[in-house]
């Protein structure tokens, strides 16, 4: 599962986690920072996206500041139905991430909706589709968020 990355890939991933310049030819700036050419770094980023090493490349929106809402939620899914329930949950566009975890609450996902009211509707759809109660964990306070990881 761990990808084969060379030193330039790693420098590129680390640099791009810190930001991307708002200039007409941003890949020139990135190339200078990592010691390569604009063509090479762009090609590498295309490949890293295609192979899934990068799950996203672009603006990371703070959805609450745009009027929307993120809510962490969980289900206790019977093992025999796990794949079917995962497919039903993942089919909803409001489900941004979904992880299997080691607990009786074994499916943890993030609901992202354009309005705060959209969350209740998404939860109702999941409960109707799965027949399972959704445990919702809206955040009360954010103490720290920085998902950058050294490549």
């Amino acid at each position: 599962m761990t990808a084969l990355l060379d030193a330039l890939d790693r420098r590129l991933i680390n640099t791009l986690q810190d930001g991307f310049p708002l200039v007409d030819e941003p890949w020139r700036v990135v190339a200078e920072a990592v010691g390569s050419t604009p063509e090479e770094v762009l090609e590498r980023v295309r490949r890293l996206r295609e192979t899934g090493v990068l799950t996203r490349f672009g603006p990371m929106f703070q959805i609450e500041r745009l009027g929307g809402r993120f809510v962490l939620a969980a289900l206790a899914v019977p093992e025999a139905r796990f794949d079917k329930v995962a497919a039903a949950v993942n089919a909803l566009p409001e489900v941004a991430h979904n992880y299997r975890r080691t607990h009786r609450l074994n499916m943890w996902f993030v609901l992202a909706t354009e309005t705060p009211e959209g969350i209740a509707g998404a939860i109702a759809k999941i409960e109707a589709a799965t027949g399972l109660p959704v445990f919702a964990f809206p955040k009360h306070r954010e103490f720290f968020v920085d998902m950058r990881l050294q490549a």
Binding site: M1, I13, Q17, L42, G68, N98, R100, V145
Partner: protein
């Protein structure tokens, strides 16, 4: 309170939520699609960064691909009177990538502090969790650690484009 995004901001969010175009001049490409100038696109993105509507522009790696195969969601039942002080202290630990206060769901779920710990192996995550436990001391009445064993979906947010 932030004002809601205007129409161009909204169209810019929709145009970029799946990612920036991977071309030599991405802001020109966005501008062409939106019928505005690249200067306007850059200015709008800069303003959204400054106001915090965009956290940052850049790459999100799949942490498994980078070798961070151990991803532990540590959850803690912390004295409500001390949650702010202790949540901030846990958030300052360098191995914690996210730290939030969330509601308890009693009786099933007594935990109100969530701290995500990523590591290249489970031992590293367990060592981090032990450090959080020492930091919380007697203010913590119990905790649990939920390792992720599969990414079932990871797409980022999608708002309506219709």
């Amino acid at each position: 309170m932030d004002s809601l995004p205007d129409d161009l901001d909204r169209r810019l969010v929709i145009a970029t939520q799946a990612g920036l175009p991977l071309v030599a001049r991405p802001y020109d490409a966005l501008a062409a699609g939106l019928g505005v100038t690249a200067e306007e696109v850059k200015a709008r993105l800069a303003a959204m960064l400054a106001s915090g509507r965009i956290r940052r522009i850049g790459a999100v790696p799949n942490h498994y691909a980078l070798g961070y195969t151990a991803n532990g969601m540590s959850v803690w039942d912390v004295d409500d009177a001390r949650i702010v002080e202790l949540g901030e202290a846990v958030g300052r630990l360098d191995f914690v990538t996210h730290c939030y206060e969330r509601p308890r769901v009693l009786p099933d779920w007594p935990y109100n502090l969530f701290a995500m710990v990523h590591g290249r192996d489970r031992q590293t995550v367990l060592a981090g969790v032990a450090e959080i436990s020492r930091l919380l001391g007697g203010a913590c009445r119990g905790h649990d650690l939920l390792f992720s064993t599969a990414i079932l979906k990871k797409t980022g947010l999608r708002i309506g484009g219709g």
